[in-house]
Each structure stands twice: as structure tokens, then as C-alpha cells.
């Protein structure tokens, strides 16, 4: 229901959530990313697509991987990019967010890439920026992380042919995961045959099935015959809130081991949005094993983010010329 992601002519203006986006658009993002991914292996890893554009990475929450890949993506598109880490605790909340935005806007930025600990923050920012500014959601609270979801879809597409034939299982802390919410929406939009979530009840949202998933509490049953296994990071603080007794028991019940993975299809791929907790949600043997595509996901992150940024800054005509 993200209302204002598309411009009047149906092009991407903001990228806030997968919800409400249609399949052709998701496919276009992946097709474009496919073209961009070749750039990364060239000697000169740059295209002049966003030359003269200013992109500000606004990170209200810590991140290394996401921020770095956004920076690299912007630089490879020849944009000027600055990254700001804003410690929310040092600023008075709400007020400062608006004030920060207005200050940055006064410097004539073209795009904000935003990460924030509150669900809906990217939406809020998109509502309050000047009309010519694009906002890309780099993760808002427990709500959405749409660029992560798209790089995951891109990775799946690289390995598997036809989304409708696939059975995908997402394991772990669905309740607090913006990645899972966006993945579920992306998988559903792309017509994936079956989406499963596997977790104890404490890590599932109530009414989870309304997201369009089949709910499993048991790894053996949930992993049977799946094509794609996605494990989610388990935050250490979940133990404190009585959501789980211990990391040890979690690994025993929900950790992805070689033995459990053997229940999936033999050619199943293993994914993780990172950073991984070895021995908590995934065994090292699996994370580093032949079925793992975890590092590929990171690589694809750059091309997918280049695709989304270039689409949001609407330079389709130039785009074709440059890639010829």
C-alpha cells in the first residue's frame, strides 16, 4: 500500500516497499541489474549515468554492508555520494529527523538512501521531501528492506529458472525481520509456488498467514523439498526478551545444518542476508558449503542497487546509450 512510490507515468520515484509494485517492474529491476553486473568485472567500473547527481546515504542505524554497497553503486553510476551516520540517541527524536532532512534538502540533493530503526520512517521521509527528491528505503525498523529483497530475487533468478515452480523457505526471526517481510512480498509478486516460514511461535507475527505464507514450526517438515532456503540473522537481544531460551537451543531446533539441509532438494541454494552468526542460525559447513550463495548475494547487491537508483533518478534514455 506504499502510495507514492510511482510517479504519474508509472516510473519508480521512490523505492520504499515491495508492496504494491507489479511484477513487470520487479523484472525490469532484475533485467537492468543483469546489465549492470557486467560493469563490476570491467577494468573501469564506472558508467556516467548519474553524473552530476548528489546522493546522500542517511543512516540512522548502523550498517556496514548495506551502506557500502549503496556507496559503491552510487559511485559506479558516477554520482556524488556522501554518507552520514546519524546517531539517533544523541538527537531529540522526530524533530531532528525533519530538521535534518530540511537541512540536507537545502543543499539540493537528488536522492536520500535511508536506514532507520523505526518502521515507516522511509515512508515518512518520502512524504516530507521536496517533490524532485527520490527516497530509497535501505531498511526501516521491522517493516521493509526492499533492495535486499530484490538482490535476493536476483540471486534466486540467477540459479533457478522459473519462479512459479519454486518452493522457498524462510527460517528464523520473521517477527522482527524487515528482510523477511520484503522477501515474502517480492516472492509473492513474482508468483513463487509456495512460500514457507519456519520459526517458533515467539518469532512469528500474529496472523502471520495473512502475509501469504505457510507456517511451519518444525525444520524437518518445513525444509522438505524446498528449492531455496533463506536463513535470517538472529539478534542476540532476543534471548533477553524471553523469546528464546538460548542460542544453543535455537541452533539445535532451527539452525541450518548439513543434515537438515539434506531434506531440501539436492540442488537447493542457501541464502542469508548477513551478517551471519555461525553456530546460531547456520552451521559453518553450510554457510561455506557448495550450496551457499551468501557471498554472491553481496556482490549482486551492488548491481541491483545501481539498477534501482538509476531507475529512480529516471534516466532511461541515457541508460541505453551508455550500455551499448
Amino acid at each position: 500500500m506504499s502510495h507514492n512510490q510511482l510517479s504519474a507515468n508509472g516510473h519508480l520515484q521512490h523505492f520504499l516497499s515491495i508492496e504494491g509494485l507489479k511484477r513487470p517492474l520487479l523484472t525490469e529491476i532484475m533485467d537492468r541489474a543483469e546489465q549492470f553486473s557486467s560493469i563490476s568485472s570491467q577494468q573501469v567500473k564506472k558508467v556516467p549515468l548519474l553524473r552530476g547527481k548528489t546522493i546522500v546515504n542517511l543512516f540512522f542505524e548502523n550498517s556496514t554492508r548495506t551502506r557500502t554497497t549503496f556507496e559503491l553503486a552510487a559511485k559506479r553510476l558516477s554520482a556524488d555520494v556522501i554518507s552520514l551516520n546519524i546517531n539517533t540517541s544523541s538527537a531529540s527524536k522526530g524533530e531532528s529527523l525533519r530538521d535534518t532532512l530540511h537541512n540536507l534538502e537545502a543543499m539540493h540533493c537528488d536522492m536520500f538512501v535511508v536506514r532507520h530503526s523505526q518502521s515507516g520512517a522511509a515512508e515518512f521521509i518520502a512524504q516530507h521531501v521536496a517533490p524532485h527528491v527520490s527516497v530509497i528505503n535501505a531498511g526501516d525498523g521491522c517493516h521493509a528492506h526492499p533492495t535486499q529483497a530484490m538482490l535476493d530475487m536476483f540471486t534466486i533468478r540467477r540459479h533457478k529458472n522459473h519462479f512459479p515452480d519454486l518452493r522457498v523457505a524462510i527460517i528464523g526471526d520473521i517477527l522482527h525481520s524487515r528482510v523477511a517481510r520484503s522477501q515474502i512480498q517480492a516472492l509473492a509478486t513474482l508468483g513463487v509456488g509456495e512460500i514457507r516460514v519456519i520459526a517458533p511461535k515467539t518469532l512469528l507475527p500474529s496472523d502471520c498467514q495473512t502475509l501469504g505464507v505457510h507456517v511451519y514450526h518444525d525444520m524437518e517438515a518445513g525444509l522438505k523439498d524446498v528449492d531455496v532456503v533463506i536463513t535470517l540473522r538472529l539478534q542476540k537481544e532476543r534471548m533477553a526478551g524471553a523469546l528464546l531460551p538460548s542460542a544453543r537451543e535455537y541452533f539445535q531446533c532451527y539452525g541450518l545444518t548439513e543434515q537438515k539441509l539434506s531434506l531440501a532438494k539436492p540442488d537447493a541454494i542457501v541464502m542469508h542476508p548477513g551478517p551471519i552468526n555461525r553456530g546460531v542460525e547456520i552451521a559453518s559447513a553450510v554457510a561455506d558449503g557448495p550450496q551457499s550463495v551468501i557471498l554472491e548475494q553481496v556482490t549482486h547487491g551492488i548491481a541491483v542497487r545501481m539498477a534501482i537508483m538509476s531507475m529512480a533518478l529516471g534516466s532511461q534514455a541515457e541508460h541505453k546509450e551508455v550500455l551499448v
Binding site: G94, Q118, S119, S206, T210
Partner: protein, 432 residues
């Protein structure tokens, strides 16, 4: 001042009146109904042809922000908003700053209200000192100062033993206990109803058990202590059932519901609309239906505003970081009568739930039109088609999720203590 209200359709549910009658007001009181007293010469005549004439409305829970947050709103600004909404009596919960836990604060509020002179403002005293749930307040002194009841406001008393004793002490003094039932642990840092919408938006949910467990515990303690109790602002269908069972058992309990819970649900949160951020949260559509049913069945007897004016900045931010609350004084009447237009409740039920029923809950002589009683009257134009525009509210709080709603009913005159304290300028009144 002598006022003659003529040709109005008088709706006075407590006296089972729904008829065209004239009302004659003199010296702050209703002098006569229907028959003009000998020698009555009106200073002001209000032609109420085609209009409803009702007792002044009574709101059981309105935060006026004074003392403590005068930068947000004041007793002056909010009583003006109240009478613009037809409300002539309102109750202030104890969670002001300082808390209403000493007679001095009661007197301060009453003084300011008297100075404003537009509406009767009752204070609800704190049940525990500073509302911290540990030490009892001097309830006898609060009662003597004018408190109409006691409450712990929005701070639930976690310790059941302290709550039991507070109830016993309030019962000793024959004070009504007003309860906002919440289990603090299940509430946690939630900001919306736990369900499909919280799952989708990634917002922390508040399960219905956060309310029902607290209501169930409190009802058991009410039974034990014999205190008379009123539940403010219930939000769940299951709470209605719990209250019904308690009433069937003979317990002295009553309940109110806010207009927004009767009209909105979690689905109205849409895309993080912070104007729908309210406590208790907007629940499911089923809950909303069951609250309406509770009203029809007489389990819930009063409709309140749960008015919480906020400044504009308070609603600007990511949803969970914004302040909860809705500015409700000026939509109470229109939203309640919308339930009549929607054929959910009868006109008599609607007016009673805003007048005589809340008066009964408070145990005050108000909410009906009797010869000799204080002339608090609300005159309503039932034939308007106005768009709700919160930016035009009289209240200092423009925070309303009802922007753009079409209302058929509008307050055109409010009379408090025999004085016209609000007059809608579009309506022409005939001055003699």
C-alpha cells in the same frame, strides 16, 4: 438573561421526551418547559425550528493539558472547543503535571475553569500519589476538594495488593473508581493492534489480552472490594463480554467507548497515518462491531471523546515515535449521530449516551432537562453536510483522523448555566 428556545425538537432521553417544545430559561436555570410563564420577557429568542434541542453533552474523559502542558492546550482553549462541540460538562483525568493528587491541583483546575466560565469541569483525583502505584492519595481530602472520582489514569497499578487496598479505600469513601485497563507487560512498547496490520507494517502489536487480562483482574477485585467502578475507553469485543458478565452478576460497573473506536479499525492506519496512533489502539473490524453491539445492548452506556490535544510536531515522525492521541471534543456529537445515520443505534440511545448516561455514571444532576435544574443545553442542526476540517478546530489540538469525513449534524448553540457560550455564526438567531 432570559432565553426562549422556541419550536425545537426537544430530545431528552432521561425524561422520555422527543417532541416539539419551547424552553424558557432564566437566571441560569430552566424556568419552564412548553408553557410560557406569566410575564416572561425573553432577552434572547432562539428559533430552533428544524433543530434538535438536547441537554448539554457530558464527556467522561478529556485532557485539557493544564496544568503542565499549557504550550499544547489550556483549560481556556479546550473549554471553548468543548462548547463548540456541544459539551457543557467534562471530566479531567488525573494525569496532569503536577498530578491531581492534592486539593491544591483540584482547586487550580476548578478556578481556571470557573474563570473560563463555559463548562462544568470535574476533576478525577489520583488513586495513588504521583500515579506511581505505590502510596494511596488522601482521597478524603480530594473528595472534599471536589473530585468526582479517583483513577490511576494511564498508569496501570501492577501490584494487585495495592490495587485491592486502593479500591477498598475508595469504596469506603463512596468514590467511583475510573479505570483505563491495561496490562503493562503485554502492552510493552506496542503502538498498534496486534494482528494482520501489525504483521504487515512491522509495528509492535498490542494484543487484545493487554486489555482483557487487566479488565478480568480488575473485575475480580471489584467483586472482592465492592468498589463502584467505571471502565474508560474500552477497545475490545471481549471486554464487552467481560463487562456484561460482571453486570449480570450485579457488580456496580459501567463502561464507555470513544467515538474513534466506534468508527475506525486497524485498517484505517493505512500507510502509517500517525493521526490514527491512539491508546488503546484501533482494533479489528470485529472488535468495532462488537463495541457497537455493546452500545446497542446497553453494556456500554456512554460515548466519550478521550480527547487528547497534541501540537502538530507530536504527529510528525515515524509512527511509533509519534505521540498517541486524538483531538475529539469537536467531533463527539457528529460522530455519535453518524451512528444514528448509519442505523447502528437510535437517536434516543445516541443522545442518552452523551447526556443522561454519563451523568448517571458521575452521579451528578445534569444530562436532562428538568424545570429548576441548571440550564445546560445543546442545540443541533441535523441537516448540514459539512466536511470535517481539523485545521479549523477551535481546540489547540488539530490531531484528528476524521479529516474529510462528511457530517450531517452540527452544534449550532451551546448554553451553559443559562448563558449562550457558543453560537454557530451561520445560524441566525432572533434577538428581541
Amino acid at each position: 438573561m432570559k432565553i426562549h428556545i422556541k419550536n425545537g425538537r426537544v430530545i431528552d432521553p432521561a425524561n422520555q421526551v422527543d417532541a416539539q417544545q419551547d424552553i424558557f430559561i432564566s437566571d441560569g436555570k430552566i424556568l419552564a418547559i412548553n408553557t410560557q410563564p406569566d410575564g416572561f420577557a425573553a432577552d434572547k429568542t432562539i428559533d430552533a425550528t428544524g433543530l434538535f434541542v438536547c441537554p448539554g453533552l457530558i464527556d467522561l474523559s478529556a485532557r485539557l493539558r493544564e496544568p503542565g502542558q499549557e504550550h499544547t492546550a489550556t483549560i481556556d482553549s479546550e473549554t471553548l472547543a468543548a462548547v463548540a462541540g456541544g459539551i457543557t460538562t467534562l471530566c479531567v483525568p488525573p494525569d496532569t503535571d503536577p498530578v491531581i493528587d492534592t486539593p491544591a491541583v483540584v482547586e487550580l483546575i476548578e478556578d481556571r475553569a470557573k474563570k473560563a466560565g463555559r463548562a462544568m469541569v470535574y476533576t478525577i483525583g489520583a488513586l495513588t500519589q504521583k500515579l506511581n502505584g505505590e502510596l494511596l492519595t488522601e482521597m478524603a481530602a480530594l473528595k472534599a476538594a471536589g473530585c468526582i472520582g479517583v483513577s490511576n489514569g494511564l498508569s496501570p497499578i501492577k501490584n494487585s495488593l495495592i490495587l485491592r487496598r486502593a479500591m477498598e479505600y475508595a469504596a469506603t469513601l463512596d468514590l467511583t473508581l475510573f479505570i483505563n485497563a491495561t496490562d503493562p507487560w503485554l502492552l510493552g512498547n506496542g503502538c498498534v493492534h496486534e494482528g494482520a496490520i501489525s504483521a504487515r507494517l512491522g509495528l509492535t502489536g498490542i494484543p487484545e489480552t493487554a486489555e482483557t487480562i487487566a479488565v478480568a483482574r480488575d473485575l475480580l477485585l471489584i467483586e472482592l472490594t465492592g468498589v463502584r467502578a467505571h471502565f474508560h475507553n474500552i477497545s475490545c469485543g471481549k471486554t464487552v463480554q467481560l463487562i456484561k458478565d460482571a453486570k449480570d452478576k450485579g457488580l456496580a460497573v459501567t463502561a464507555d467507548v470513544s467515538t474513534h473506536h466506534l468508527h475506525l479499525s486497524e485498517h484505517d492506519i493505512g500507510n502509517y497515518d500517525t493521526f490514527t496512533h491512539v491508546m488503546p489502539p484501533l482494533r479489528s473490524i470485529r472488535d468495532r462491531e462488537q463495541l457497537q453491539q455493546g452500545l446497542r445492548d446497553g453494556v456500554i452506556t456512554a460515548i466519550c471523546t478521550n480527547h487528547q490535544p497534541l501540537d502538530n510536531d507530536a504527529k510528525l515522525g515515524p509512527f511509533a515515535e509519534t505521540a498517541p492521541g486524538i483531538s475529539g471534543l469537536e467531533t463527539l456529537l457528529a460522530l455519535t449521530l453518524k451512528l444514528v445515520d448509519d442505523e447502528e443505534i437510535t437517536l434516543q440511545q445516541a443522545i442518552a449516551s452523551l447526556t443522561s448516561h454519563p451523568a448517571d455514571i458521575l452521579g451528578i444532576d445534569a444530562g436532562q432537562l428538568n424545570v429548576g435544574s441548571r440550564a445546560d443545553i445543546c442545540i443541533i442542526n441535523p441537516n448540514t453536510h459539512d466536511e470535517c476540517q481539523p485545521t479549523q478546530f477551535v481546540s489547540a489540538g488539530k490531531n484528528s483522523p476524521f479529516s474529510g469525513w462528511l457530517f450531517n449534524n452540527k452544534v449550532c448553540h451551546t448554553i451553559f448555566n443559562g448563558k449562550v457560550v457558543f453560537e454557530q455564526d451561520k445560524i441566525q438567531s432572533i434577538s428581541v
